[in-house]
């Protein structure tokens, strides 16, 4: 293979322009295939030649050269660093100012791949002055160019708040927000992804994104037919909701929670994950917001997610979201318990295969500590492990002394018998709870 590259190199300097373009195209396709080949291209000293001849060539050559740079830069950060070191970024930025939209597209694609790897490379891209030109590219009429420019902006702003701030200062948010309603699905994906990468870093950036009046327009994207548009829309809402209660309140007031819940109900798989996390973040901020989630009928979809999904991280996310909804007051815990999800959670916790038992444990603990809905707690008495059992028995010991009907029910359903069977070290919390329960009943029954 390296023989080919040293053969192609002199062709790049050929007199006939078609030969140059085809040679560049060949190099690009070689580098695209494999990262070893890309390294060979870099080692074969091709890049400086490409860069030098880029400025005076016609647009086909520029496109092919940008294709080569993109193909090399996409494999690893070291290769991208090599590209930056040979001064290709300035050339690419010059290509961004070209008239032909194809050239601009190729150049911004290459820049996008370079900036994707890490924040130093993104910083280098920003220092080369690419961001204002990319914002201009977004406003062009060609859809493909808009897509690529949006994806490049998304890659630049995802690394750090300063880079996101640079993108925002170039005025990108307004243009991105206008393009949310574009009918093209891939463009919407990239635009939503860019906005969510900007909004995720800090409260100010999220507020700037919200100030571009994306609500309630974003909710329409949640009903799109394309799965990834829905996913990215939910991601955007998640990045906004997670910062402060006020932003979550804004989302709730705009009816975002209902749209997200419908979105969760209609999708399957990893596409649901950001939507679940939206509900979790919104419910985590305050009990009023959590009640709003409950009122919008958010708990049944979360339960179905928990049961149906196969992937562990989605189940863990659903469990976390349920925990956030149910942890505030007994009312919330009751709403979660009524949905009959506690046995499922317990079963998942005890399932030794699962790796997210920390999540389940925290969820169960949070919900159980506030749950006073005894009919839902009863079935858990029978199979819970000791550390969960202590919370369950604790809740019983809080409720039973005051409620006579519950006491009667407790005896008839065999709960008292089960409690007697529990062995606990004297002096431990569990023993105290058991004593409290036993004190509610007359001696004969306890025996």
């Amino acid at each position: 293979n390296s023989g080919v590259i040293s053969l192609l190199r002199p062709l790049l300097l050929d007199v006939v322009p078609t030969i140059q373009q085809t040679a560049a195209l060949a190099l690009g396709r070689l580098a695209n295939y494999n990262d070893d080949l890309a390294e060979a291209v870099v080692k074969g000293d091709i890049l400086p030649q490409l860069v030098c001849s880029l400025s005076e060539q016609n647009r086909f050559y520029k496109k092919a050269a940008a294709f080569v740079l993109r193909a090399v830069g996409k494999h690893s950060p070291q290769l991208a660093q090599a590209i930056v070191q040979c001064g290709a970024l300035e050339m690419l930025v010059i290509c961004l100012e070209d008239f032909d939209p194809g050239v601009k597209e190729a150049a911004s694609w290459a820049i996008g791949y370079i900036a994707r790897h890490n924040s130093e490379l993104s910083q280098a891209v920003v220092d080369a002055g690419a961001v204002p030109l990319l914002v201009l590219c977004i406003q062009e009429p060609e859809i493909a160019l808009k897509r690529i420019a949006a994806s490049t902006l998304s890659d630049i702003s995802k690394h750090s708040p300063e880079l996101a701030q640079t993108v925002v200062d170039a005025g990108a948010i307004a243009h991105l927000a206008q393009m949310i309603l574009n009918p093209d699905a891939k463009l919407k994906r990239q635009v939503l992804s860019a906005l969510s990468q900007i909004a995720k870093h800090s409260v100010d950036l999220a507020e700037l994104v919200v100030a571009a009046e994306i609500f309630p327009v974003v909710l329409i994207c949640l009903k799109d037919s394309d799965e990834y548009v829905k996913k990215n829309g939910a991601t955007l809402i998640r990045e906004i909701a997670k910062h402060t209660p006020e932003l979550s309140q804004l989302i709730v007031n705009a009816g975002g929670v209902a749209a997200v819940i419908d979105c969760i109900g209609s999708c399957r798989g990893t596409v649901r994950l950001p939507g679940i996390m939206v509900l979790g973040y919104v419910a985590a901020h305050s009990e009023n917001l959590s009640m709003a989630v409950i009122v919008s009928k958010g708990i049944p979809p979360l339960c179905t997610c928990l049961i149906e999904e196969h992937e562990d991280h989605i189940k863990a996310a659903a469990a976390w979201a349920l925990g956030q909804v149910g942890r505030h007051t007994p009312e919330h815990a009751r709403a979660v318990a009524v949905a009959n999800v506690l046995p499922t959670l317990l079963a998942m916790y005890m399932d030794t295969r699962s790796s997210e038992d920390l999540q389940m444990k925290a969820t169960l603990k949070n919900i159980l500590q506030k749950c006073t809905y005894l009919p839902a707690l009863e079935p858990l008495l029978h199979d819970a492990p000791p550390n969960i059992l202590k919370h369950i028995v604790g809740q019983f010991s809080k409720v039973l002394p005051h409620d006579s009907k519950a006491r009667r029910l407790f005896v008839t359903t065999g709960g008292l018998k089960k409690v007697q069977e529990i062995k606990a070290e004297s002096g431990s919390l569990l023993q105290e709870y058991i004593n409290t329960i036993n004190n509610c009943y007359p001696e004969e029954i306890v025996r």
Partner: protein, 363 residues
Amino acid sequence: MAALARLQARLSGLREEYFRRNRSIDEDRKIEYKAAVKIQSWFRGCRVRAYLRFLTKMVIFIQKWWRGYRSRRYFRKMVETAYFIMKMNFYNEMAVRIQKRWRGYYVRKYIHNYYALKKYLEAISVNNEIVRNELQEYAEMKENEEKRKDLEKKEKEKNYQARKMHYLLSTEQIAGIYNSPFRKSPDPMELLLRKSKPLSHRRQQMKSPFTYELCDWPTCKRPPTFSTSQQLPPIGRQKPQGPFRDTAEVLRQRYKPLEPTLRVAASINSPREKARAEMKREEWGNCIHDNEFLPFSSYHKHEKYDPSIHRSGKYGQETYGIKHFREVQPKKWVADKDFQTVLPSIVLFEKFGKTYSRTGQIV
């Protein structure tokens, strides 16, 4: 003399008696002195003791009084403090009651307003319903659009195919594949083939399907109805010979309904009339009175001129400087005439208004 004798008798023993008396007195003197001292000291002691007693009593009296005064003061302070504490406790309790009520009210109204929360949650449900409905509508609309686009595409495809496969159309003799004689009515594809124009770039005199639908050519009285449902062609049709244009086209041209442009269709005055009507309505509405608007010259014909204050007061405009430059007071004239001026009046001013013509005097 006897007394003297007696005295002289006693004289001898006088010295001894004198000495004896002095001696006894001297001997008793100490004892008496001591006794006297004792008595005196005892008496003095009594006196002093009495005095001390007296003093003690006085001192006790003073101290008693002073101590009573101090204690009463202390007691008064204690009472005041106790009273003060009692009052403060009372105020505190009342303040606690007020604060209790106020805090309960404040928290229930502003911080954990249950009814506001309930209303908010209801409003959220309503809002969610609305959002859900709208999104549902939007999704349905998009679906419909997509379906329509699909259908249209398919239609176009089919039409294109029909145009390409126009040769499959059935002829008089040979029924085409889509027009089997055993069928009651031709296949939809047959109908489509009939409708479509043949796809070729050469000009061909293909038989258009409309030929079959007409009545006899020369006696065609009523215009044919271009209905889309086409029956089977009647089998014995004689088509006219010769290079005529086909009848359908001719009749279409002849009986083409008039499709006037908007400009022709609207009446000549219509925009102006419409605009005028609008304006008239507006004016009619804006009129405050019915007096017609008159031009200036006739408007002020009958108006009396009311002069300004400056002119109408008795201290109005002075004629001095305008009409004359000397003061005249005709009432003081002896005769009817003014005095003659000694100096001639200024010639220039005599010519005022008379220099060229008398026209200016009209003004």
